[in-house]
């Protein structure tokens, strides 16, 4: 039997969740025994080359590109897992929800303290750039998500346990400390 295929991506996230994947330490060696990686920043494969079994999504959707990537993941992955607060709830980026985008632009490019270099007072609008969404969306408001791993970032143990159980088909053992944060 061929190995299960895993893909990961970071949308509107800080890569902290990916760092947490690496935090499984030496178990990463076992992981590469257990799975084959497809599209992921971990191996830098940029496009899907085949149908995958599991997709891990870090971050919610703040722009049109995020939406395209997420939809692509849904198409290519049998199981999609939201990894971390940003993917589940929008997280820190969602702090902008409720503020007019115009105001955000003005703060970021025209009036904020770090805008002195923008002498042309330009709000970036190159067609190459993705468009911002009206608000930051959690992943499940764009596509169906099968599992949610809480945490900012989720603990390495939680990620590990979840992957192992998804691969082996056995129920995950998730002690309280691993999923509960106060």
């Amino acid at each position: 039997m061929s190995k299960p295929v895993l893909a990961t991506t970071s949308l509107a996230g800080c890569f902290g969740c990916h760092m947490s994947i690496l935090d499984i330490d030496e178990r990463i060696l076992t992981l590469i025994e257990l799975v084959e990686f497809n599209k992921s920043p971990i191996n830098d494969i940029k496009t899907f080359t085949k149908q995958c079994d599991i997709g891990l999504i870090e971050g919610g959707c703040c722009n049109s590109e995020n939406v395209h990537v997420l939809r692509d993941f849904r198409k290519h992955c049998n199981i999609l897992v939201s990894l971390g607060e940003c993917a589940i709830m929008g997280g820190l980026p969602a702090m902008r929800n409720g503020i007019l985008i115009k105001e955000c632009f003005h703060e970021a490019y025209l009036n904020g303290p770090s805008t002195t270099a923008n002498t042309g007072h330009i709000i970036p609008n190159d067609p190459e750039l993705p468009c911002l969404l009206d608000k930051v969306y959690p992943c499940q408001e764009i596509v169906r998500i099968d599992y949610y791993l809480p945490g900012c970032p989720p603990r390495a143990d939680l990620i590990w346990e979840t992957l192992v159980s998804l691969i082996s088909g056995k129920p995950a053992e998730l002690p309280y400390e691993v999923i509960k944060f106060d």
């Binding site: 049109s64 632009f105 970036p124 009206d134 764009i142």
Partner: protein
């Protein structure tokens, strides 16, 4: 301005507990509470400015900026919507040139929405500068706005006759109608003010409580707690300073019976409070009444004076030496939650109306930490009749578990909306016949926090055995869109009125509303219906009854009208978020001046 404010604060002896009165008086004098005086007011009352700020911002009718020489608060309860509120609203906007939520640029007219104002049987209704306007039509609105532009005082704008009964008395002069459709055997049993009180003082206080217990009277405010038991609990307290509160907040949409009682028989209510005072040895009573009923103020104050003159309030009352009891009227400032008894006490103490953790219950620690009895208007009125005619007379009315009568507020699609005093035990079917309702699709029993029943449930009976209720019944004809018109309106009501303390109650109704919208927009899937029910369960972890019941419109409508939801959801898809990429990038593309290519 400063001197005016100072004078008002002095009038209340710099008492922070009277903050509500102080703020309402300032607003009445100046039209608003100038923000730059907040620090001074706080200092004068020895509270922090934050405490003051948070109190002012809590109440719908308190404002820190001028809201127009004429401020229109147009009710947005479900029955208003059924009576073409949208047309009235549009006409207000067209005629005054300003949209709802704003004040016209010349500062003349401000237009605002407000939750149910207790006029469900004469909608659409609005409060303009504290004067009640009912049965509004676009034509009438044109006249009103024209009057405003001429600068006419609101009191002179009336073209209709004043409402029936005391509504047309000199001290009220309101177009509000009583719509008393059925005078029942308890409230309308002939009576002379003082009869109940005089009889009670011939009894031992303990025997008064016993008599109320024997009558099986249960609270008419909705929760149905045995009144005698409540009084007994209060009496058992070691604290001797005690208070009697009358709950006249009447905020449950579709309820207006307390308004009619207070208009037609306020003496009976005040007398009931005095009897309670006698029974538990309280010396003062407070009527906490909703801001919306401000038009009754002069009349109620005058009624209290009359009772004082008749020696039925004040010192040594009803001829009994040492029996002192007096009542004052405390107005609220627009918050449904202040009908919840512990929030009511907070508000009466001049704070935000946020419910307290219970226990301790108000009978142990209530107003200013002292044992306090809080009863509904109707409950207190009935006390008088029970004392006068005896508990057996009362228990002979109604059913085994539900003694006596209930005053119902009936509105919606029927020929005779209004109040009806009937014995407990009638079926909803009987009621519909009584009020002239046909082709009924649904009946909301007990207001938004109650249940929405379907035609199969019409044989169900009113009473604590089956359908206990605070008395609001709203009837919906088969032509109504239940989910869009009714369930949505009620859900929005809870979102608006949550005090915001509990994350469950602050957030869940909002999330549920988004799901409802998604279903109504045609993006729903079967899973959404189940999610609505599942997610509503969160609300059970809230602190008070508002949160506990905020999911009821959705839960009970799914229970009893699931087919309506199923008709709206997609059959061929099992997941649809309703997300639209092109729509969602519009705002940013406009803001950065680029075309929306996604």
């Amino acid at each position: 301005m400063k001197t005016t404010v100072n004078k008002i604060i002095k009038k209340y002896k710099n008492d922070r507990y009277r903050l509500m009165d102080i703020l309402l008086d300032i607003q009445e004098e100046l039209g608003y509470i100038p923000e730059d005086l907040n620090q001074m007011i706080a200092d004068e009352l020895s509270i922090s400015k934050v405490e003051l700020d948070e109190t002012i911002s809590f109440y719908h009718f308190l404002t820190q900026k001028p809201l127009g020489e004429y401020t229109v608060y147009l009710n947005n309860s479900v029955t208003a919507g059924m009576m073409f509120r949208e047309d009235v609203k549009k006409t207000f906007e067209e005629q005054s040139g300003v949209l709802f939520g704003n004040v016209s640029s010349d500062g003349l007219i401000g237009l605002f929405d407000t939750s149910c104002i207790g006029m469900s049987d004469q909608e659409p209704a609005a409060i303009i500068n504290n004067v009640m306007f009912t049965n509004l039509t676009p034509f009438r609105v044109k006249e009103i706005v024209a009057d405003m532009k001429e600068g006419k005082p609101v009191e002179e704008m009336h073209k209709q006759n004043f409402g029936g009964g005391k509504n047309s008395s000199d001290l009220i002069q309101a177009v509000v109608k009583n719509n008393i459709r059925r005078k029942g055997p308890v409230l309308w049993d002939p009576y002379e003010p003082g009869e109940g009180l005089r009889k009670s003082i011939t009894m031992e206080p303990g025997d008064v409580i016993e008599e109320i217990k024997n009558s099986h009277l249960r609270g008419r405010g909705g929760a149905g707690f045995p009144t005698g038991l409540k009084w007994e609990f209060c009496n058992k307290s070691r604290e001797k300073e005690r208070y009697i509160f009358c709950n006249a907040d009447e905020g449950e949409p579709g309820t207006f019976k307390d308004r009619v009682i207070l208009t037609e028989m306020p003496k009976m209510v005040f007398e009931g409070m005095a009897i309670a005072g006698y029974a538990v040895g309280a010396k003062s009573g407070v009527v906490y009444i909703r801001y919306e009923y401000l038009y009754l103020r002069k009349y109620l104050e005058n009624t209290l004076s009359e009772l004082r003159k008749a020696k039925l309030l004040g010192r040594n009352i009803a001829g009994k030496n040492g029996f002192d009891f007096d009542i004052r009227i405390q107005y609220g400032a627009g918050a449904y939650i202040c009908g919840e008894e512990s929030a009511l006490l907070e508000s009466a103490e001049g704070k935000r109306g946020e419910p307290r953790d219970r226990p301790p219950f108000p009978v142990e620690k209530g107003f200013k930490g002292k044992p306090t009895i809080i009863n509904n208007v109707e409950t207190l009125a009935k006390v008088v009749k029970i004392i006068k005619k005896g508990s057996t007379w009362f228990t002979n009315l109604g059913t085994q578990e539900s003694a006596g009568t209930k005053l119902l507020s009936i509105s919606g699609d029927c020929r005779f909306p209004g109040v009806y005093e009937i014995e407990w035990g009638h079926s909803i079917y009987d009621i519909l016949e009584m009020v002239g309702a046909t082709d009924v699709q649904a009946v909301q029993v007990g207001g938004p926090s109650g249940i929405l029943i379907n035609p199969n449930q019409l044989p169900r009976k009113l009473g604590y055995e089956d359908l206990g209720t605070g008395g609001s019944l709203i009837i919906f004809h088969e032509s109504r869109n239940l989910i869009r018109e009714v369930v949505m309106n009620f859900t929005e009501f809870f979102i608006e009125e949550s005090c915001g303390s509990c994350s469950t109650c602050r957030n869940t109704p909002f999330i549920l509303k988004q799901k409802l919208e998604k279903i109504l927009d045609g993006h729903g899937v079967v899973q959404d219906i189940d999610d609505l029910v599942e997610w509503s369960k969160n609300l059970k972890f809230s602190r008070c009854g508002l949160g506990h019941t905020a999911g009821n419109p959705i839960i009970t409508s799914i229970q009893n009208f699931r087919h309506l939801y199923e008709k709206l959801v997609q059959r061929d898809r099992d997941y649809d978020t309703g997300f639209n990429l092109a729509e969602s990038v519009k705002e940013s593309c406009e803001a950065s001046n680029r075309s929306t290519v996604v």
